[in-house]
């Protein structure tokens, strides 16, 4: 019987303890929050929900929605292009696949992993605040705010995927005298391609969401229009904007599913 068919289960962890811990944490958080707040407030609920029935679909406003969606999509794509420029070389360092000697490999990998931990830990909008103080309110601030944490995350995940490929084909390549670079190009990249592509499309989806809220620091796009609509109490304008955002995300999601289906076939 091949080993694949008889999976050896790792020793199960203490699930009762886990359940107890998770339930206790949740209960504590419920007790810590002033749930009574829910009963007050609600002043704008009627107006907000009522506007859902009569969204603003005039041609002039739909043009604004389209423009804002284009800006958001553009920020997302531009940010992803920079994130890839940072992330792909980063992935090679994180995985250390190009090094010949094991010691060099472990060294570069450990240093690279430690270096990308900080940019990864900080939310993109916190990056936006920091970059705002340094670069000022330029479009580049928004692009970099997304690209820096995403580049670090891509480096980490891509690096792990390059290592997680099946080892047998790689050994076959090595036995023919292939260098680490050749093993990477002819072995690891084709083996990891499917997972990597769908992961990158997933990151693009996240980038679209992140780009939509660059209005946090005052840049344009869907978020800015939502803020303007809320500030003007024009609730009927919020819904077409959210609809456009859903459509954008859905488009990337559909592309991602199509790619993974094509690769599976």
């Amino acid at each position: 019987v091949p080993a694949v068919l008889t999976p050896t289960r790792p020793r199960p962890g203490n699930r009762t303890l886990l359940t107890a811990l998770l339930l206790a944490a949740f209960t504590a958080s419920v007790l810590a929050a002033p749930v009574g707040d829910l009963l007050r407030g609600g002043g704008a609920a009627g107006a907000l929900l009522g506007s859902l029935l009569r969204p603003d679909l005039t041609a002039g406003f739909l043009w604004t929605v389209a423009e804002a969606s284009a800006v958001t999509a553009a920020y997302a794509v531009a940010a992803m292009s920079v994130a890839l420029l940072l992330g792909v070389p980063g992935a090679l360092l994180v995985s250390g696949v190009l090094a010949r000697r094991p010691l060099v490999r472990m060294g570069t990998s450990a240093v690279a992993r430690a270096l990308i931990a900080v940019p990864r830990a900080v939310h993109e909008l916190v990056w936006a605040l920091l970059l705002l103080a340094v670069l000022g309110l330029t479009p580049l601030t928004g692009v970099l705010a997304i690209a820096i944490p995403y580049g670090a995350t891509i480096a980490r995940v891509l690096g792990d995927r390059l290592l997680d490929v099946p080892q047998a084909p790689l050994d076959a390549l090595r036995s023919t005298g292939a260098s680490p670079a050749q093993v990477l190009v002819y072995g690891r990249l084709p083996l990891a391609a499917r997972g990597v592509t769908s992961y990158l499309l997933y990151r693009l989806e996240c980038a679209v969401r992140a780009a939509a809220v660059l209005s946090f620091i005052g840049l344009g796009g869907i978020g800015l229009q939502v803020e303007i609509a809320l500030a003007d109490l024009r609730f009927e304008r919020v819904w077409p904007l959210l609809g456009a955002l859903v459509l954008l995300v859905l488009a990337v999601d559909t592309a991602s599913r199509a790619v993974s289906r094509r690769c599976a076939a």
């Binding site: 886990l18 978020g223 919020v238």
Partner: protein
């Protein structure tokens, strides 16, 4: 793809905004910001040397954690209720009842997940503060609304990946759909669902600072106040606490994940 990227850059660079500063200016500003954050050249005591402020930041960090746990817990409850409907296996798949009502429930659940997931936490926060008074609860609701969509999507994918053979065996013994769910699907998918839940909790903690910025809760609100009053050493303190918190949460989460195995 290159054409798309070129077009995107063209749109981005024509956006209104200040011109991109020169490298020298940027370097100078980085140096000044770093100095300000460290509290260089100030008479007052820097915030991170003040025990009172350390204590208050610790309390806010706790509040942030409570907000994120509440959010992920609410999202988990929402996902638990909606995932069986949004997964193919027990609704429109071969083991489903084949009724049109179930098919409608399936599509409604899927659509609800897509909509909640597509709208980022920050936009949910803008909407939630109109309905709920600002505070921890508003922040938790905003985070939960986004996470329920993410967890719903990931959960439905996991449930659909469950091995069908044991389910068919259960069905052959005459088990109904709820029995299939309770004895077949959940035991198979739950460990992975918990892993995903913990992973999303880490993401929620990162986002809770930004959401707190808008809903007046936790570290995020403190960051907003400190930034607007240009109390740079306080900003540094909040950012450092944030980093420590993210690392601590990652460590706790990976410990709990080991229990879920």
């Amino acid at each position: 793809v290159l054409l798309l990227v070129g077009a995107a850059w063209a749109v981005v660079l024509t956006q209104p905004g200040a011109p991109v500063p020169a490298v020298g200016t940027v370097a100078e500003r980085v140096a000044r910001l770093a100095g300000d954050l460290a509290g260089a050249g100030r008479e007052q005591q820097p915030a991170y040397a003040d025990p009172v402020r350390l204590l208050s930041v610790a309390r806010l960090a706790l509040e942030t954690v409570a907000m994120s746990v509440l959010a992920i817990g609410l999202a988990a409850l929402g996902a638990l209720a909606s995932v069986p409907l949004a997964a193919r296996v027990l609704t429109v798949g071969e083991l489903g009842p084949g009724r049109w009502r179930t098919a409608i429930a399936f599509h409604v659940a899927r659509a609800a997940h897509v909509v909640t997931r597509s709208v980022p936490e920050v936009v949910w926060a803008l909407l939630v503060v109109l309905l709920v008074p600002p505070g921890v609860l508003a922040g938790a609701l905003a985070l939960a609304l986004h996470e329920v969509g993410v967890l719903g999507r990931l959960g439905a994918d996991l449930v659909d990946d469950v091995d069908r053979a044991p389910l068919r065996a259960l069905r052959a013994t005459g088990a109904g759909r709820f029995a299939l769910l309770g004895y077949g699907v959940l035991p198979a998918a739950l460990p992975q669902l918990v892993t995903v839940l913990l992973y999303r909790w880490e993401v929620t903690v990162r986002a809770s600072v930004v959401v707190g910025f808008l809903t007046a809760a936790g570290l995020g609100y403190q960051l907003r106040l400190d930034l607007s009053f240009r109390r740079w050493t306080d900003v540094a303190l909040v950012l450092l606490t944030y980093l420590l918190l993210v690392w601590a949460v990652d460590a706790v989460s990976s410990g709990l994940r080991r229990l879920a195995r």
